[in-house]
C-alpha cells in the first residue's frame, strides 16, 4: 500500500482536438484513468475499500468542444522527470489527446476565473451584413439576458459583465470570434450561452458551431499553471 503522506503532485497539460471532442468529460476521466494505468508509471492510489487512481480535472470541457488548455492532476509515488512523464503518457493516450507539459501545480483550480475560446460558426440563409448587425446589437446591449441551467433549476442571468468578445469576422462563409468568458466554480459561462442569448435576441441559431478553448486564467489574469 502507498503511504498516505508520501506522494508527489503533478499537473499535466494536454490538448483535446479532432474527433476527441466528441468524448464527454466523464468518458475523458475514464480514458485517462486507463491510459495512466497503461503507462506503468507508479501512481498514487486512494486508500479505502475501492482504491482508485487519484485524478482531478481543473475545468470540465463540454462535449463537442476542442481545447489546447486542458489540465489534470495526479499523484506519483516516486519522483520522475517531467519530460519523462509527458513522454510516457503520450505513448499511451488515445488519438486526439496530446500531453504538452507537466509540472508541479502552482495554482488551485478553485481560483480559475476566466477562459478564452476561439469560436466559429456558419449562418446559412442569413445575409452577412444582417448577421453582423444583429450580433453587435445583441452583445452591445447593457444587459444580455439568458436562461442558465443550474443545479437548483433554471435562472435568468445577465451575462454582459461576464463576457468579453472580439470582433466578429466573416471569412469564406464562416464567422469567427474570440471570447473571454467567466469560468470556474463560482460562475461558469458556457460558450453555448452566447448562442442561446443571440437566439433569444435575433431568433436565429447559427449552425456548425466549433469551439476551442485556448487558455484558462485566475482572477489576476495569470495563466493557470
Amino acid at each position: 500500500m502507498n503511504d498516505m503522506t508520501n506522494f508527489i503532485d503533478v499537473r499535466l497539460f494536454y490538448t483535446k482536438t479532432g474527433s476527441a471532442k466528441y468524448i464527454s468529460h466523464l468518458d475523458v476521466m475514464r480514458a485517462f484513468q486507463r491510459a495512466l494505468k497503461r503507462s506503468k508509471i507508479d501512481f498514487w492510489y486512494t486508500e479505502g475499500f475501492h482504491p482508485h487512481l487519484y485524478l482531478t480535472f481543473a475545468l470540465p470541457l463540454s462535449l463537442g468542444y476542442e481545447s489546447v488548455a486542458e489540465s489534470v492532476d495526479f499523484r506519483l509515488v516516486a519522483p520522475m522527470p517531467y519530460e519523462e512523464i509527458v513522454r510516457r503518457i503520450n505513448a499511451v493516450l488515445p488519438v486526439g489527446f496530446k500531453a504538452i507539459a507537466a509540472g508541479k501545480p502552482k495554482m488551485d483550480a478553485k481560483k480559475i476565473r476566466f477562459a478564452d475560446y476561439d469560436i466559429s460558426f456558419a449562418a446559412e440563409g442569413k445575409d452577412v451584413e444582417q448577421m453582423l448587425a444583429d450580433w453587435y446589437r445583441c452583445f452591445d446591449r447593457e444587459e444580455v439576458p439568458v436562461v442558465k441551467k443550474t443545479k437548483s433549476g433554471e435562472k435568468e442571468i445577465n451575462i454582459r459583465p461576464h463576457i468579453k468578445l472580439s470582433k466578429l469576422e466573416n471569412k469564406e462563409g464562416r464567422y469567427f470570434f474570440r471570447a473571454r468568458l467567466a469560468s470556474g466554480v463560482e460562475l461558469n459561462i458556457n460558450p453555448d450561452l452566447l448562442f442561446a442569448a443571440f437566439d433569444n435576441f435575433a431568433g436565429f441559431r447559427p449552425e456548425d458551431i466549433s469551439v476551442r478553448r485556448t487558455a484558462v486564467y485566475n482572477e489576476k489574469m495569470e495563466k493557470f499553471r
Binding site: 479532432g18 474527433s19 466528441y22 475523458v28 486507463r34 462535449l63
Partner: protein, 611 residues
C-alpha cells in the same frame, strides 16, 4: 473522402458511439489492403462492443496485412434519422467510409431479435437486403455466431453462413475472396468454391422442399454443396489466436472490462440450454495460457477489471490455480477480478474467499426451476440443499443481496412448479433471518429474474411446444399471488418477446418474408423494450400468411426433419431424442466429467472429451 461529414456527430446523443478513434482500434491505408471487411453487429454500440467474439475476430482479421477489418454497429434512432434525411450511408467506425464500399460484410448473429437490424443496416448502407438482388462479388454478406445454428429464417438475406467457431474458417473464407477478387470471379463462382470449404453453408446452393403440412420434406443440394454441413470447432484452445488487445471504448458499454475465455462448451447438459449443446465438445484452456492472456490484455487496455467468462466458470477444471495465479498480480496492479457464471453446487468456501478478496457485490445463481422434479426434468443437477448451502456461504461471507434466475413455461411444468419459484426464494429469505451470525442491521434482498422458456434448436427440448402467451401470463399471475415478502423482488421478461424469439429460433425459410415485412413496417432494434413492436410483427405474420403458432406452439415429432437438420453440430439426433424422453421421465443425465453419455460431439475433436 470519408462518407460522413464530421459535423453530424454533434447532432446526436452519445457521439462517441460513432466517432471511432478508440484505443487499439485499427486504422490501415485502404490502398494497402486487398480485402476490406465490415464486421457488423446488428445492435447498438454499447451491446456490440461488449461482445468477445467480435474482439477476437477483429484482431484476428487485422493481423493479416492484406485485410482491414472495421467495426459497424446499428445506429440509434436519432442517428438513423439523420442518415436517412441527409441521404448519408451507414459507415464503418475506423474509416467512416460507407459500408457499401466494403468487399465483405459480416454479421454476427447473437440473438434472434437482432434479425431486423441486419436488414436495416444493409438498407442504410444502400445495399439490397435480399441475397438474390446482390449480383456482384462485392458486398458479399456473410454471417456466423450462435444463431447461425438455425440460419433458415434469414437465409434469404445472407450469402454464406459459417456455423460453429470462426477462428479458422473465417480466414479461409476471406482468403478465398482474395483469390476471387484478384481473378475476377463472379459471385456465383465464389459461392460454389466457398461451399467446398468445410463448415460453410451457402443457402442459395441448397433447396428446401416442404411437405403439405409445412414441415421440411428434404434438402436438395446443388452444384458443389453437401448436406449436412458440419460446424467447425477449434480443437486446441491453447493454440488458437487470442487477442492481446481489446478496443477500449470511451463510453460506458455493457461489459467494459478485460475478458478471459476459460473454456468452450459446458459439461452440464441442461436440457433447455442451447449453448450447452451447440458449443460441444467441452474444451478447457490451460491456466498458464490464460494468465498470460490476462496480463497482456490488462497491460494493453488499462482496464481495471478482469472478468473470467465461460458458460459455467466453477466447472473450469483449473479455476483455483488460475485464481491463485491471477491474485499474484492483480491486486498490486489494481485490477479487480469478476467471476460470473458460478454454479450453486460447487461453490466452495475457499473459492468464495478467493473471490471476496477482490470484490464484493451481489451474487447471482441460476437454479432455473423452483422444484426438484422440475430441475430433474431440465437436467439442472442442483438440489435445494445445495442452493441453500450456497446462499448460506454467501451470507456468511457478508453478501446480503442474491439474484436467482428461473424460467417458467418449461416442459411438463405444473402450477406447483411455478409457485415453487417463489417458495424457493422465500426459503432463502428465511434462511437469512434464521442465521445467528447474519450481518447486523442489514436486510436481505432476493431478486428472482424469471424468463419465459424458449425451445431452441439442437437441444433436447427442440421438439417441445412453447407455452402460449396466455398461459405464460397466467403463470406470471400464479407467481405474483404466491408472493408474500417484500424481501423478494420478482421480475420477468414479457411473454411477447419470448414468443417471437421462439418463432425465429425454430423458423424455416418461410419466415424470411415475415422478417422483411416486419422490418419494412418499422420493426428494428427488437431486443429493446422501447422499440419492440409486437403488434406490427403480428400484422407481418398475417400479411405473409404465416402462422407463428406453427413454429412456437406445435409439438414436433421425433422423426420430423427440422430446418436446422441441414447442419451437423456433432451431437447426434439419437442423443437429443433420448434426452427428451428422459426429461419426460424426470430422469437426469450425469455431467460430461462424471460419465460420458455419448452425445457424439467428441467426434468433432477426433477423440474422447474426458479420459
Amino acid at each position: 473522402m470519408p462518407a460522413i461529414p464530421e459535423n453530424i456527430l454533434s447532432l446526436v446523443q452519445k457521439p462517441a458511439r460513432y466517432c471511432g478513434g478508440e484505443l487499439n482500434s485499427v486504422v490501415k491505408n485502404k490502398n494497402d489492403v486487398s480485402v476490406r471487411f465490415a464486421f457488423c453487429f446488428p445492435d447498438l454500440y454499447e451491446v456490440g462492443m461488449s461482445h468477445l467474439g467480435m474482439k477476437i475476430l477483429y484482431s484476428l482479421l487485422n493481423n493479416d496485412p492484406e485485410v482491414w477489418c472495421e467495426r459497424v454497429f446499428a445506429p440509434d434512432i436519432d442517428m438513423e434519422k439523420i442518415l436517412r434525411e441527409r441521404k448519408l450511408p451507414l459507415f464503418a467506425l475506423e474509416s467512416r467510409d460507407s459500408v457499401g464500399d466494403f468487399d465483405m460484410i459480416g454479421f454476427t448473429l447473437q440473438y434472434e431479435l437482432s434479425y431486423t437490424g441486419i436488414l436495416n443496416m444493409l438498407d442504410l448502407a444502400g445495399i439490397p437486403v435480399r441475397s438474390e438482388d446482390r449480383c456482384e462479388l462485392k458486398n458479399l454478406v456473410v454471417a456466423g455466431g450462435p444463431c447461425s445454428c438455425n440460419p433458415e429464417p434469414i437465409a434469404d438475406f445472407i450469402d454464406l453462413f459459417m456455423p460453429g467457431e470462426g477462428e479458422e474458417v473465417l480466414p479461409e473464407v476471406v482468403n478465398l475472396y482474395k483469390t476471387a477478387k484478384k481473378e475476377g470471379w463472379s459471385k456465383k463462382q465464389y459461392l460454389c468454391e466457398a461451399a467446398k470449404i468445410k463448415g460453410v453453408y451457402v443457402p442459395s446452393l441448397i433447396d428446401v422442399v416442404y411437405n403439405g403440412d409445412g414441415t421440411v420434406k428434404e434438402f436438395v443440394p446443388k452444384e458443389t454443396a453437401v448436406v449436412p454441413v458440419q460446424k467447425r470447432i477449434i480443437k486446441d484452445l491453447d493454440g488458437v489466436f487470442y487477442p492481446d488487445k481489446f478496443v477500449v471504448p470511451f463510453i460506458d458499454i455493457v461489459h467494459d472490462r478485460s475478458q478471459l475465455e476459460l473454456m468452450r462448451g459446458c459439461i452440464r447438459g441442461c436440457r433447455f440450454c442451447q449453448a450447452g449443446f451447440i458449443y460441444r465438445p467441452v474444451r478447457d484452456k490451460h491456466f498458464e495460457t490464460l494468465s498470460k492472456n490476462a496480463h497482456d490484455l490488462c497491460d494493453s487496455t488499462g482496464y481495471e477489471e478482469l472478468s473470467l467468462t465461460s458458460l459455467s466458470t466453477s466447472d473450469y477444471s483449473e479455476l483455483e490455480p488460475l485464481l491463485d495465479d491471477l491474485l499474484e498480480w492483480t491486486p498490486k496492479e489494481h485490477v479487480n477480478l469478476a467471476v460470473p457464471s458460478l454454479r450453486v453446487d460447487n461453490f466452495s468456501e475457499s473459492l468464495l474467499q478467493k473471490i471476496t478478496k477482490v470484490r464484493k457485490t451481489g451474487l447471482t445463481f441460476a437454479p432455473e426451476a423452483g422444484t426438484q422434479r422440475m430441475r430433474d426434468v431440465i437436467n439442472k443437477n442442483v438440489t435445494e440443499e445445495e442452493i441453500m448451502n450456497t446462499c448460506r456461504t454467501a451470507f456468511e461471507g457478508g453478501y446480503t443481496a442474491v439474484k436467482l434466475y428461473f424460467m417458467i413455461g418449461l416442459p411438463t411444468e405444473t402450477d406447483d412448479d411455478v409457485r415453487g419459484i417463489v417458495e424457493t426464494a422465500q426459503r432463502v429469505v428465511d434462511l437469512y433471518y434464521y442465521m445467528p451470525n447474519k450481518p447486523k442491521g442489514k436486510a436481505v434482498q432476493v431478486t428472482c429474474s424469471v424468463a419465459s422458456f424458449v425451445p431452441k434448436p439442437f437441444t433436447p427440448f427442440q421438439f417441445e411446444p412453447q407455452d402460449t402467451r396466455e398461459e405464460l401470463h397466467r403463470k406470471q399471475e400464479v407467481m405474483r399471488s404466491a408472493l408474500h415478502s417484500r424481501k423478494i423482488n420478482l421480475d420477468w421478461h414479457d411473454a411477447e418477446t419470448s414468443y417471437l424469439e421462439a418463432v425465429l429460433a425454430r423458423g424455416d425459410r418461410k419466415i424470411g418474408k415475415v422478417i422483411e415485412t416486419a422490418w419494412r413496417k418499422g420493426c428494428n432494434l427488437d431486443s429493446w423494450d422501447e422499440h419492440f413492436k409486437f403488434d406490427t410483427w403480428m400484422e407481418a405474420f398475417a400479411e405473409c400468411g404465416v402462422e407463428p403458432e406453427f413454429y412456437a406452439n406445435r409439438t414436433r415429432s421425433y422423426d420430423e426433419i427440422m430446418p436446422w437438420d441441414i447442419f451437423d453440430y456433432g451431437v447426434s439426433k439419437n442423443f437429443i431424442v433420448n434426452e427428451n424422453k428422459k426429461a419426460h421421465e424426470s430422469v437426469t443425465t450425469p455431467n460430461c466429467r462424471q460419465k460420458c453419455s455419448g452425445c457424439g460431439a467428441n467426434c468433432l475433436k477426433g477423440g474422447r472429451c474426458f479420459e
